[in-house]
Symmetry: C2
């Protein structure tokens, strides 16, 4: 029989500040470089793209950054989110481990993305911006920014990776319901888009290309700014509400995690859960294992190189030191659309270099198997991205069973799968393939890495 | 700028009993009749279809019926659900009314349906049943029973109205993810299905037909029982957790509703919100307006007759006194799949006859307009069914504006629209038609009403 153990916070316990991990690291991550000079970027050069408040957060070193009351007010629509113990899953696995998960799928768009979308919309609106331009892969980020734009009266324009635009008309409909404009990328509306369309009129698009287009539009329109859904420090910062709430909830449960697990595409939901726990472990000298679960088809942390690279495919962003597959990388088709980025957040990459986190690459079939097992055990259907965290958490629970140790595992269930049932249908129909990157493909893609002067 | 006012209950405030409106009515609703004799049904004849506990609840007259701890445990996965005040919508409408809504879309399947699915699965499991058979229209009920079956280790078989089965492959995938078997109705697996297929091999199906098939399978298999997602007293009873929570939350808000609004298909989400408030109003002699919002394309309360009718199309169920369009009614195509039933719950019909509730029929375009306005104001995209409640609540708020009265309106937002974005896409593309039933169609359909001996 089913049993639910849930830990709920009161509304007043929505965090009042975001947590900045930079304050607690033994060494700072390398700053972004200006590709023209090869020297650390002057923050002022970011002003055409981002409001001043977000640029300041990007560079911030203080540990706590207050969350504006207007942002907390919108957070209240769905936060605090629940933390649950997966007792049925534990029983099915026959593990002595305790498996907890933080559930971000209760947000209006079904994922963790609104945590930063709301903050970004607020700061832009506060500085007089009228239009936000962004890119989206699977559509979770685009629809979340569309939601946030509606909440603060901002126009939102979304460049959606063409192959997703065609496969996921419902995500486009969701963005339009919130009043946003969504168009396929590469598009004829930008110089970058026209360049890629000239190479291939049926170009399937990539996140890197869509970023190039969005950045171009924002840079050329004084009333518009750019918004990014992952990778950057301020985005990861906003996501720390996840981990801050989860720390209190683990205290309610009377336990503390031995292992943290999150899936990684650009790194934002992973960072959101992990950073507050990791910072506290560093401050208190406690041991904490952290596992990043990434798709074998887009394995930046496990097979990429740690190098300076562009955030986009056209080479218009600053250079960031990160684990990357090369900014020209176009991943093979697989279903976790939110995990298809060529690089990893510089802050997450830095943690990997410091030896503070582990990484594992997973095939999509084993992930969907885990997703189905989770749905049948716990009642919630995970988003394809989140199935990677589920699978990695199950591996940890199985290892605890082998070791006969009652380890405490906490993972981030960053979204529900209600928009992604085609992926589950494909899984049941045996239509999913596990496609690993070949060494040749990787070498070809890495050849696109910029050479620093 | 956006502002969120939410009223949250603690987990221990999940109701401990369901509320039975029958205890507070001035007269009881007419009991179901045995079609063979025309006399009140012997409850024992329902035993092949339902477990004893649910038959007892169907006939119960006591005011409070305890919720088993096993059911409350599964409720805890998503309950208590939030109640929110739609302040942004109020501002956009320029109304002095206060608009509150109870939000049931946070459940694992995105609607209120699990409230009864979980209870039904529990009682069946407790009496040794191994398999539940049911029907579903749009898929909300089928996926909710599939979820509940997974929680209690029951097999679930779902007959899905064929036109929905073809249009909504994602709902089928959701049921399969939970381990259920979903097949299109009419199907060749039952005598009833074969009969309708013989008439028309491409029969689009109807809820009435799918019920006939599910009832037939359950009646013929000793280890299987039937489960219904609306209409019956015990189903409405289980939904009263919605209104019981909402009463406490309105007390937290320091207000009491002047008007309650819910959408009606079979009546379950409407009853769930309304019955506890209505019972208290009756006991305390307070005035309370209640508005049922139904689709103009399937207008059982506003244009149906109050008569004895079958619950299914093959005429295999007991006869129920209800507002009905005739059990042979096949509604024209429209998007609120959960509101396509030919009849109305006998208890809700009885309230209409007693003059305790009002009803209004709405076109689907004005409902989707209201849904989009709500999404852009409040951040949540309503299910097509729920847009009817939104539109009716907006009408009430506009009436309050005309009257310059600060009325308090509470409506049930019974589900999110994440599975129904095709409907919104059709709305934006101008592909939605408003199709009212003609007088001839109604007369033809009513000719199927049974004649009592």
């Amino acid at each position: 029989m089913s049993e639910t153990t849930k830990f709920l916070l009161a509304e007043r316990e929505i965090p009042e500040s975001w947590y900045n991990l930079a304050a607690d690291l033994p060494s700072p991550p390398p700053p972004p470089l200006d590709p023209a000079t090869g020297r650390p970027l002057d923050p002022a050069t970011l002003a055409p793209l981002f409001p001043h408040a977000l640029i300041a957060q990007e560079m911030a070193s203080e540990r706590w950054i207050p969350i504006p009351e207007e942002v907390r007010s919108v957070y209240r629509l769905w936060r605090p989110t629940p933390l649950l113990r997966a007792r049925n899953l534990e029983q099915r696995l026959g593990t002595p481990a305790h498996i907890y998960y933080k559930y971000e799928g209760v947000s209006p768009t079904g994922s963790h993305k609104p945590n930063t979308a709301v903050a970004q919309a607020f700061y832009n609106r506060a500085e007089g911006v009228r239009r936000l331009v962004t890119e989206t892969g699977a559509g979770q980020w685009g629809s979340s920014l569309a939601f946030a734009g509606a909440m603060f009266g901002l126009e939102v324009q979304v460049f959606m990776v063409r192959v997703s635009y065609q496969q996921k008309p419902y995500r486009k409909a969701l963005m339009e319901t919130y009043g946003a404009r969504c168009l396929p990328s590469p598009s004829p509306e930008t110089a970058a888009g026209r360049r890629f369309l000239a190479e291939d009129p049926d170009h399937p698009g990539s996140l890197g290309i869509a970023i190039s287009e969005a950045v171009e539009v924002a840079a050329q329109n004084p009333d518009a700014k750019y918004a990014l859904g992952s990778v950057l420090n301020h985005v990861l910062l906003h996501q720390t509400v996840i981990g801050l709430e989860a720390m209190r909830q683990m205290e309610m449960a009377g336990e503390w995690p031995d292992v943290l697990v999150g899936c990684t595409g650009g790194g934002s939901n992973f960072a959101g859960l992990v950073f507050p726990f990791l910072g506290r472990s560093l401050r208190e000298g406690r041991r904490l294992r952290v596992v990043a679960a990434e798709p074998a088809a887009c394995p930046s942390l496990t097979r990429g190189v740690y190098a300076w690279d562009f955030g986009d495919s056209a080479g218009t962003t600053p250079l960031m030191k990160m684990h990357t597959l090369g900014s020209g990388f176009v991943p093979p088709g697989f279903h976790a659309g939110g995990l298809r980025y060529h690089g990893m957040a510089p802050m997450v990459s830095h943690l990997r270099e410091l030896g503070l986190i582990e990484a594992v690459a997973l095939g999509q079939r084993e992930c969907f198997e885990a997703g189905v097992l989770f749905a049948r055990s716990e009642g919630i259907v995970p988003a394809p991205e989140a199935t990677h965290a589920v699978r990695a958490a199950i591996r940890e629970a199985e290892a605890a069973r082998e070791a006969r140790e009652p380890r405490v595992i906490l993972f981030n269930l960053c979204g529900h799968g209600h928009f992604d049932m085609q992926a589950y249908a494909d899984f049941f129909a045996g239509r999913l393939e596990d496609r690993e990157l070949t060494a040749e493909e990787l070498a070809r893609s890495l050849a696109s890495l910029p050479r620093l002067r």
